[in-house]
Structures are given as C-alpha cells and as structure tokens.
C-alpha cells in the first residue's frame, strides 16, 4: 500500500513540479519496482509456468512492434487520436469499476461466461496500453524535433517508462487469465 501511495504521489508531483521531475522519477522507479515485485511474485506463485518471463518478453515485443508501427506511419497520432484514446481509457476504467461492484454484489454474475469476460477486458487493457505507448513515442519524437528544453527529458522518459510498465502489468494480467482458464 505504501509503495502504491508513493507511486501515485510521484506521478502527480512530477507533473506539478517539472523542475523536480528527476527526483520524482527516481522515487517513482523505486516504488513501482516494489509494486511490480509484489504483483509478479504473486502471479508466479499462483500460476507458475514462468509467467513473469513470458510477460517481460511479450512487453518488449509489443513495445518494439509499436515502435515499428509508429516509424512506418501506419498509425498517426493527432489530437483526435489522443482524445479518443483518453475517452476509451476513462470508459474502460468506469466499466471495470462498475463490473467489480456487480461482481461483489452478485458473485456468480460471470459464471456462464467467465473466460470471455476476463479475457475480453484483459485484452482491451493491453490494446489501450499499447496505443498509449504509441502516444509516448510521438511525444518524444515531436518534443525532440521541435526543440523542447533539456529539462523535459526526464518528463518524457517518465512517461515512456510508465507506459511500458503499465503495458507489462496488463500483459501479465492477460497471461494470468489465459493460464487460469486455458
């Protein structure tokens, strides 16, 4: 819980105080490392099958694939793309919260289609995280090409690392669903 609080606080403060972003980037890295260890260890203990190694390889592969997509201009990032992606994320989070409440009230709600529901939401999470990574690449490309100040390098790096680790968590969750029901 402590690591989670430090992680969220670092994210918010790095944005509010960009000049101190190097400090908050380090704090963020250390705290999210603890969170990742907890999630990864639990996953490995519950599901085995080298799930963590698989998730790391899958994350690296997806990150490289998204970089290729960005460089080949298959998908371009514009204001509409950003708006749609942010709205998709908000909708995703709201639906997840709502379904969590429903599941808490009616534990058997998903009993008939558990795999489809869990897999669907996990897969959508991976897609959204991947598309956010595309936005991170675009931020870096545009920022460097438009001559943004050096002090913002930490902020751009922060955004990229956050995107990658978020993708890792989402892929880990997807693998957990596959191993649980597979």
């Amino acid at each position: 819980m402590g690591a989670f609080v430090v992680t969220v606080a670092s994210i918010i403060l790095a944005k509010r105080l960009p000049l101190l972003s190097p400090l908050f980037s380090v704090l963020f890295s250390l705290s999210i490392g603890a969170l990742l260890a907890a999630v990864s260890l639990l996953s490995e203990r519950m599901y085995g099958n080298n799930i963590v190694g698989l998730a790391v390889i899958a994350t690296a592969s997806v990150a490289l694939a998204i970089l290729f997509v960005y460089r080949s201009k298959t998908l371009t990032v514009g204001p509409t793309y950003r708006r749609i992606l942010v709205l998709s994320l908000l909708a995703y989070v709201l639906v997840l919260i709502k379904l969590s409440v429903v599941r808490a009230v009616y534990p058997d709600f998903f009993s008939g289609f558990a795999f489809e529901a869990y897999f669907g939401f996990a897969a959508i999470g991976v897609v959204i995280a991947s598309l956010f990574l595309l936005m991170d690449y675009d931020d870096i490309y545009e920022g460097v090409n438009q001559g943004i100040r050096k002090r913002f390098e930490w902020l751009l790096a922060f955004s990229l690392v956050l995107g990658m680790l978020w993708l890792y968590i989402k892929i880990l969750l997807l693998l957990r669903v596959l191993l649980r029901f597979g």
Partner: protein
C-alpha cells in the same frame, strides 16, 4: 501545438501552450517549454532514452530487492506492502 504529456495514466494531465490564452501568456508558456530561439539547451533522443534506461534499471533493481525480501519473509508482509 505540441503537447508534452507529463504522465500517461488515467490522470492524464497535460502541460502545453494553451492557444486559448492571450498572446503574452502563450509566449511565456512557449518560453518555458522551448526557451529562446538561440537556445542550445534542447532535449535529445539520447538524453530521453538514457534517462528511460536509468529509470528501468532502478525499477528492476528495486523489484529484485523487494522480491528477495518478500521471499525471505515468506510473503508475510505482502498484504501491507
């Protein structure tokens, strides 16, 4: 206008030149983001990716240390970590 997103999480805050503001405010925001035209103090790919690498190495080192500690403690503290 290019927007530097500071985070890519659901919080999604932006730091940008706001083109709805008066020109003087926009100029001030632009100065903060880009400096003056002659400024050589600009971000580079090497700078961004080396900092990303530093952050990733720190996160992995922290994860490893925490995992070792958790295993030694027999996962006792996981619920409050």
């Amino acid at each position: 206008m290019f927007e530097v997103r500071t985070i890519s999480t659901p919080i999604m805050a932006m730091m940008r030149v706001d083109d709805r503001q008066p020109p003087a405010v926009q100029a001030d925001q632009r100065m903060k983001l880009y400096g003056d035209a002659a400024s050589a103090d600009t971000a580079t790919y090497t700078g961004v990716f080396s900092k990303s690498a530093i952050m990733l190495v720190l996160a992995i080192a922290s994860a490893y240390a925490f995992a070792v500690w958790l295993i030694q403690e027999g996962f006792t503290y996981l619920s409050i970590a």
